[in-house]
C-alpha cells in the first residue's frame, strides 16, 4: 500500500508528509477533578483528569522529600472499531501508564510537594494512532489546569518512516503498516528530550531525520498548548472581573 502518493505527495488522508493532524485541546472537562483536559489529534481523542496534590493514600508509598506521582491509563471500550472489553492492567496499558508517569514526573516540581500524591488518569475515548502522544499532551494540559508546579511543558508527538519518507504524526492506518514509529516527548522551553520510544530498527541517519521531524511536531504542539493555556488564563481573569 502506498502511504505517500508518489505523484501528488499526499498521504491517504490528504496531509503532506510533514503535516500534523488537526489538534484541539480543551481545559476543564471534568468538573470534579482538580484539573482536567481533553486533547484531540485528528480522530484520536483522550481525556485526562488530575487529582492532587493530596494526602498519600497508602502510607507505605509516601516519599519524604517529594510528591508521589501515579498514573493510570485506560482505553474506553468504545474507543476502537471492535467493541470488546479492554481489561485494565494489561501489559500494554501498564507500559503506557509507566511511560506517561515517567514523562510527567520529569517536569513536575515534585520536591515542592513532599509527602503528597498526584494522580493522573488518562482515558482514550477514540483511538486512531498516536494515543501515547495525545495522552501526554492531555496530561500536560490537565496538570497545568490543576495548578501543579511544573518546570516546563511536556509535549509529545510521533513520527514514522514509511515509503522511504519520514512522516509526521501517524494515524492508525499508517501506524499499522508496521513501519518504524518514533514517539518523542520534549520539554518545550529547553528542547530537552524526555521521552523517546521506538520498537523497530532504523539506520542511524534516517533515525535522526525521523526524530527531528517528531521534535518539530512537539514544538508545534507546545505552541498550541501555550495558546490554549493563555486563552484559559484570560477567561479566568475575565470571570474574576479583574
Amino acid at each position: 500500500m502506498e502511504h505517500v502518493d508518489p505523484l501528488t505527495g499526499f498521504r491517504q488522508d490528504g496531509r503532506r508528509v510533514n503535516e500534523m493532524r488537526q489538534i484541539r485541546g480543551e481545559i476543564g472537562v471534568v468538573a470534579k477533578a482538580d484539573g482536567s483536559a481533553q486533547f484531540e489529534m485528528g480522530n484520536t481523542k483522550v481525556i485526562a483528569a488530575v487529582y492532587g496534590p493530596r494526602e498519600v493514600q497508602n502510607k507505605n508509598q509516601q516519599i519524604n522529600n517529594q510528591a508521589l506521582v501515579r498514573c493510570e491509563y485506560s482505553m474506553a471500550n468504545f474507543s476502537t472499531g471492535d467493541r470488546k472489553r479492554k481489561p485494565k492492567g494489561d501489559r500494554r496499558s501498564t507500559e503506557i501508564s509507566l511511560v506517561i508517569r515517567q514523562t510527567m514526573e520529569a517536569c513536575i516540581l515534585t520536591h515542592l510537594m513532599p509527602r503528597s500524591q498526584i494522580d493522573i488518569y488518562v482515558q482514550v475515548l477514540q483511538a486512531d494512532g498516536g494515543t501515547r502522544s495525545a495522552c501526554i499532551n492531555a496530561a500536560t494540559l490537565a496538570l497545568a489546569d490543576a495548578g501543579i508546579p511544573m518546570r516546563d511543558l511536556v509535549t509529545s508527538c510521533s513520527a514514522g518512516y514509511l515509503c522511504s519518507t519520514p512522516l509526521l504524526d501517524l494515524n492508525y492506518s499508517e501506524d499499522s503498516a508496521g513501519g518504524p514509529d518514533v514517539t518523542v516527548g520534549i520539554l518545550a522551553k529547553t528542547d530537552k528530550v524526555t521521552l523517546l520510544q521506538m520498537d523497530a530498527k532504523l539506520p542511524m541517519d534516517i533515525f535522526e531525520n525521523v526524530m527531528q521531524l517528531a521534535i518539530e511536531g512537539c514544538k508545534a504542539i507546545a505552541n498550541y498548548i501555550r495558546e490554549v493555556l493563555g486563552e484559559n488564563t484570560k477567561e479566568l481573569e475575565y470571570r474574576r472581573g479583574s
Partner: protein, 935 residues
Amino acid sequence: MLQNKSFVKKTRGGKIQKQVRELYLRHDIPCGSHACGSSCDRAAARLPADAGTVLVLDTNVVLNQIDLLENPAIDNVVVLSVVLDEVRNKNLAVFNRLKALCTNTGRNFYVFANENFKETNVIQMVGESPNDRNDRAIRVATRWYQGHLAGNSKILLVTNDRENKRKAIEEGLSAETVESYVRSLGRPELLDLVVLPTSEDATMMDVEDLRPSKRKIIYSEHKPMSEITSGLLHRIYHQGKLRVNRYNPFEAYVGSESIGDEIVIHGRSNMNRAFDGDIVAVELLPQDQWHEGESSIIADDEDDEEDDVHLAPSSADDAPRSINQVQHAAASTLTVSSRPVGRVVGIIKRNWHSYCGSLEPMPMPAGHGGTAHALFVSKDRRIPKIRIQTRQLDNLLDKRIIVVVDSWDCSSRYPSGHYVRTIGKIGDKDTETEVVLIENDINSRPFSAQVLACLPPLPWTLSPEDLAKPHRLDLRDVRVFSVDPPGCTDIDDALHCTRLRNGNFEVGVHIADVTNFVHPGTPLDEEASQRGTSVYLVERRIDMLPKPLTEDICSLRSDVERLAFSVIWEMTPEAEIISTRYTKSVIKSCAALSYVEAQARMDDSRLMDPLTSDLRNMNSLAKIMRLRRIDRGALTLASAEVKFQIDTETHDPLDIGMYQIREANQMIEEFMLAANVSVAEKILKHFPLCSLLRRHPSPTKEMLEPLLRTATSVGLDLDVSSSKRLADSLDHAVGDDPYFNKLIRILATRCMTQAVYFCSGDLSSSEFFHYGLAAPLYTHFTSPIRRYADVIVHRLLAAALEISKLPPIFQDKAQLTNISDNLNYRHRNAQMASRASVELHTLIYFKKRPTDAEARILKIKSNGFIVFVPKFGIEGPVYLMPRGEKGGDWVVDEAHQRIIKAGTNTSFGVLQTVMIHLEVVEPQPNRPKLELSLK
C-alpha cells in the same frame, strides 16, 4: 476543511467493522499551469503558459488509450487523482505507464489532487453509484479548471463515456471523444494508435476472410469469474500458467499444482483465446479423448506456416516439444497418452503486452489514405495473428512494428489490437537486432547517471589501503595468466600453477573481485541484478556492468594489478585435491593468452619457458580431472556452436563456421568447474538455507524418447538408465563415419533441459544434483563480470570467510527465490537472443552467397525430412514434394525411419548424409527466408 470518510470493512478475522478515516481537504493545491492568473504555487507547474488546450482525461481514456497518451503528440494533460486511483485499481500495468508519463519531465502531464482539494472534492450522493460519483468528480474538476484558467487556456474533457460527455456538455464544458480529438490534430497516423470501442469492433470483422463459417461464434464463451472460482475450489477446473509450445503454436501446456502434472491443450479452440503466459482455468477432457490431439492440430494446420530454417537447438528448451506428427499418428492407435488433456474455460489473468513483428503482406486497398484492416504476424510464433486497423498501410508493410492486443471476442478468429510504433525496415540489421532485444526483454539502454555514479573514480589503480586489508593476499609475484577467446575484453578469470617442493602443485583460480566494487543495494547492484547477465550477440555485447568495470577495473588484463577472489588448491600430480583455500587477493597477470596461443605454446616442443611449462602442467592435471569426471558419468555433450567472421566496416558476416574446441578450452573449463564445485561446497556448508546453487535435472524417459527412436532406427542401442550408462553408451556409439558420434551427442544434448539456478532453501539436497556434470553440488563463481549469479555467490563466499557480512537480502527467502527466478529468466532470454542474432546473421550471410553443403537427416516427415547442416549449425525442412501435398510418390517407412519413392530404389533414411543447397528466397516481398533444397 476536515471530512470524515466512513466505510465498512471486513477484517482478516472475518468480522465486519466500521472504519472511519479522516480526509483533510486543502486550499493549497496549485493548478499546475504557468498560465495561472491566481496565486497558485508554480514550483511544480507543468502546463506551459502558451498551452492552447489543456486536456482533462477520463479514466476510460487512460485505461484504453495508454499507447496514444505515450505519443508526444498528446500533451498538456491534467491527470486527476480520482482517475489515478481508478486506473490503479483496474490495471496496474497501465497505472505504471501513466505514472511514468506523469514523472517524465519531457512531458507536460500534471497530477491534480482533486480529491484533496476543497473546491473539487465531491461526496457520493444517496443513490449515486461510485462510478457516477467519480464521473461527476471529473466534471467538477474540469469546471474548476475552466473557471480558474479562464481566458488563458481552453479546457477540454476527453472521454469515451457517452453519458459523461453528454452531461459535461450540458454543464457547459467542452468535451470530445478520443477519436474526434485526435482527428482534430490533423495527423492521420495518430489515429492508428486509437483503440476503438468494442461496439465498433463488429465492422472490423471484414478483414477476415468471408467464409461463412468465420462469422459465427468461433470460441466458447469464457466462464464467469464466480463460476471459475467455485470450479477451482471443487477441483472441476485447474488453475495454471499457459505455456505455448514455441515450435508448435497449436499446442500448449498448463502446469497445474492441483493435478501435479502438466495439462496438454491441443489446438486453438481448446486454448480458447488464451495467450502464452496467461493464468487460465482449465477443464480436463474425458480420458478417452486424451490422445485425440492430432485431429485438432491438423484442423488448424492450414494456418500453420511451414517450419522455417533455424539454428539447431542446443537443449530441450530450444527444441520442439511435440512428438513427430508422422510417428505419432501411427503410434496413437496403440498408446493412449498418459498426460492429461484439457481445454481452457476461462482466463484468470491476461499476460497481454506489446508484440514485435510485421504485417501479413497484402495488396494495397483501393483508395489511398483510407483505413485498412491488416493482420499482424508476431515474430514470436506462440502469439496468434492480431487484427489491426491502420491508415498508413503502405508505410507499414515493409516495417517491423510493435502492436498491442486490446481484446479478443469469441466471435472473432483473431484478437484485435492496435499499432504502437515502428522499429525500422524489415531485414535491416539494426532493426532486426532491436527486434531480437525487444522480443527477449533485454535492456540495452545506456546505464543511468545514478548507476554510473557508483563507479570508483577513474582511472582506477590499486591503492595502499586495498593492499593493507588483512584479508587480502598479495599474489603479485605469482606467475598468473589468463586464457580466453581471442579479443576478449571482459576477462573474468586467471590461473596459476606452481610446482611445490614436495612434488605437488599449487593451482589457483583467480576471479575478478567484482563485489569489491559492486556493493549490495546500490543502484549499480540493482541494475546488474535486473540485467542478470551480459548478452552476447554476433556483433555486439550488452553488458551487465558498465564498461569501466567490465573492460578495465575488473578485467584481469595482463601487466596490471587487479583485485581478485581466489580459490587455491594443493594438488598431487594425480590431480587429487589435498587442500583448498579461498582468499581475496591482488594479482598481476603476466599474460592474457588466447586459446589458440595457449594451444600453440603447449604444442611447440621447443618452448621451455616457465609459462609454457605451467600450461603443460595444468593441462596434464586437467586431463586427469576430466577423465575422472567422465568416469563418474559426466556427459560429454556436444553442441553446434557457430562462429562468424565479421567485416569490421559493414559489420556483415564474412565467414561462418563451427566453433573449434581445443584442448586449451577444455583445460580452462576443467579448472573453472573445479572452482565452482569447491565454492559450492563451501557456501552450502556455511549457509545451508540461502546459498545460490545450480542444478541440472535428470532428463525424463519421455524427453529422451526422440533420441532413442532415432538410435533404434539406425540399429544403435542406448542405455539411458543413468547418466553414467548414457555416457558409456554414447562412447560406444560409433558409426561408419567420424562425425556419427558427434551427431549422436548433439542429438542427446538437445534432449536435455538446461541447468537452472535455485536457492538451497527451496529444495531438498537430493535435488541439488547436476546431471550433465555428474556433480552433487554446483554453482557459478567464475564469471562475476557477466553473470549476476556469480556476484551473489561471491558475497556468500566472502561472508562464509567472514570478510564481510551477509547482506540482509539473504535473510529474505522469498526475495532470494525471486532473484534466482529472474536469473533463470534472463539467462534463457540471453541465450534466445544470441541464437536469434546468429540466425539473423546466417540469413544475411546466405543472402549474398547461395551455398551447397553436406547435411544429415534428423527426422523423416510425410513430405520430406528435416536436415541438420553441421557446418553452419542450422537445421530445417527439405521438401520432396510441393507443400500441401502429402503422400504422392513418397512413402514413409515408419520402423526404419525412411522415406521411399514408390517404384524406385530412391530413399532417404534418418542420419543419412545428403548434399543440399542453401539459398535465401523471397516468396513474398520483404520476407526473406533461408530455403534448403536437395542438390
